[in-house]
């Protein structure tokens, strides 16, 4: 690892999607960014702006057309090297109990059974699900399922934790609770993190820095450093500073949203 270098570096990333008819869609065009060690980065943008695509490329699930991803200064291609993903719809394996889901990545890494069982137990405890080790996903609430999803990603001790709108399919109350729990877990098991969301409040509340992506092709429209100290608390959400950041980000997003609206009504 290069001392003082970024934990994760994305250089000149481009991605087009071919379509059966018409011009290919340019999802990402020459995007570069850096994430510092133990930084919590949030990415926000209008829906369909390519932020999920971006995260999937960083995870190695889809190859970029151009550009490269570096973790600790080393180029990574394909999944499974130092990145752990938390998925939007939880996507637990329904045939595995909670603890077996958490063990999944360790199994693939050849960790011996007693060792990975203990590690999985520890991560289940970290996300506050003691007693639910042997429950199947269909027996757990959405919020609990996503905590298992988080434990599954953390269990492989990733260099970079990737979260793709992890709370997007939860109701507002559960979402607020999980934000606090995520921060709590993150304080205890600090990781470099990239968190994709479409909620401005969520981004400000969780992150050290926020990147606002433009509508397709994804470019960085705005980079905001969040000034709040940690641990964060609910009161920050109503502070003038919080509202000011919220307004700044909304003004940028609104422009794209309006353009999109205009495009749709005219077509």
């Amino acid at each position: 690892m290069i001392a003082g270098g970024p934990k994760l570096e994305v250089r000149n990333l481009s991605k087009n999607f071919r379509r059966s008819k018409g011009e290919p869609i340019c999802a990402i065009d020459d995007l570069s960014l850096e994430v510092a060690d133990l930084e919590f980065l949030a990415i926000i943008g209008p829906s369909g702006c390519g932020k999920s695509t971006f995260l999937r490329i960083v995870d190695g699930l889809i190859p970029p057309d151009a550009g490269a991803i570096y973790v600790n200064g080393m180029a990574v291609t394909g999944p499974g090297q130092g990145r752990g993903m938390v998925f939007q719809s939880f996507d637990l394996f329904p045939w595995r109990s909670a603890i077996k889901n958490v063990e999944f990545g360790l199994e693939l890494r050849g960790v011996p059974a007693p060792e990975r069982r203990q590690a999985a137990r520890d991560y289940i405890a970290l996300v506050g699900l003691q007693g639910f080790e042997d429950s199947y996903p269909h027996e757990l609430s959405g919020g609990m399922q996503q905590r298992v999803g988080l434990a599954r990603a953390l269990a492989i001790k990733p260099e970079v934790l990737l979260m793709d709108e992890p709370f997007g399919s939860l109701d507002v109350q559960t979402r607020d609770l999980l934000q606090d729990q995520l921060l709590h877990i993150w304080e205890r098991d600090k990781k470099t993190a990239i968190f994709v969301t479409h909620s401005i409040e969520e981004a400000i509340y969780l992150a050290d820095r926020i990147l606002v992506f433009s509508a397709r092709p994804a470019r960085i429209e705005l980079s905001v450093t969040v000034p709040f100290s940690r641990p964060r608390n609910e009161e920050m959400k109503t502070s003038p500073e919080f509202l000011e950041i919220r307004r700044t980000i909304w003004n940028v997003l609104k422009k794209d949203a309006l353009a999109e609206e205009h495009l749709e009504s005219s077509s």
Partner: protein, 234 residues
Amino acid sequence: MVWEAIARRLPHIVLPPPSIVLVRLAQDLLSGKLVVALLGSLEALVLGLALTIVIGVPLGFALGRNRTLAEMFDPVLNALYAIPPVAFVPFLVIWFGLHLPARIALVFLMSVFEVTVAVSVGAREVNPRLIDVGRSFGARGFELTRKVVFPAALPFVFAGVRIGLVRAINGTITAELFFAAINLGAIMNEDATRFDTAGLLTVIVLLALLGLAAQAAFARLEARIVPWHLRPAA
């Protein structure tokens, strides 16, 4: 009850009432006649179905997950599927003779298509998001199949084998009637020539019971192995 009520108004040879059939069933089971025949029939059934599972399940997975293979073999499979397996009987006689190997072959032919098609549909319909999760955590190739695709498609494997099981029972009896008559098929044949309709119905009832019992046993096995499928996650 309806059967009993109707049967009582008719000569017994046209439709023997269930009371007589059940007594006969008990008699023939106790005398061992039906038990021996049943066990003989089960031999071809079990071996044929085993062959179907061993060939049909992997073939189904291959067709479901590999588009090139699917494009090559789906039309062939569908064409063969459309032919009544009994049409192959003359060939089976030439290839396998009249005894156990031929019966196994017919049981196999009658059940293998159902299993292959059901498994291939299951393998094709595996939630792509779960495959992404598998890949994200570093699973590739055979490991991805073993740890993600196979368990995800397992409910379809069960559905396929359950249909295959019913078809295999069908195939067993068909084989015992069409090739050298033996076991339950032989009893049915004899009863039919003697117009012993009660005896004939006894075998039919036994087969129905066998089908029910096999399916019930299978359902229990399924509930044990794929419990998540009964209440899928929302």
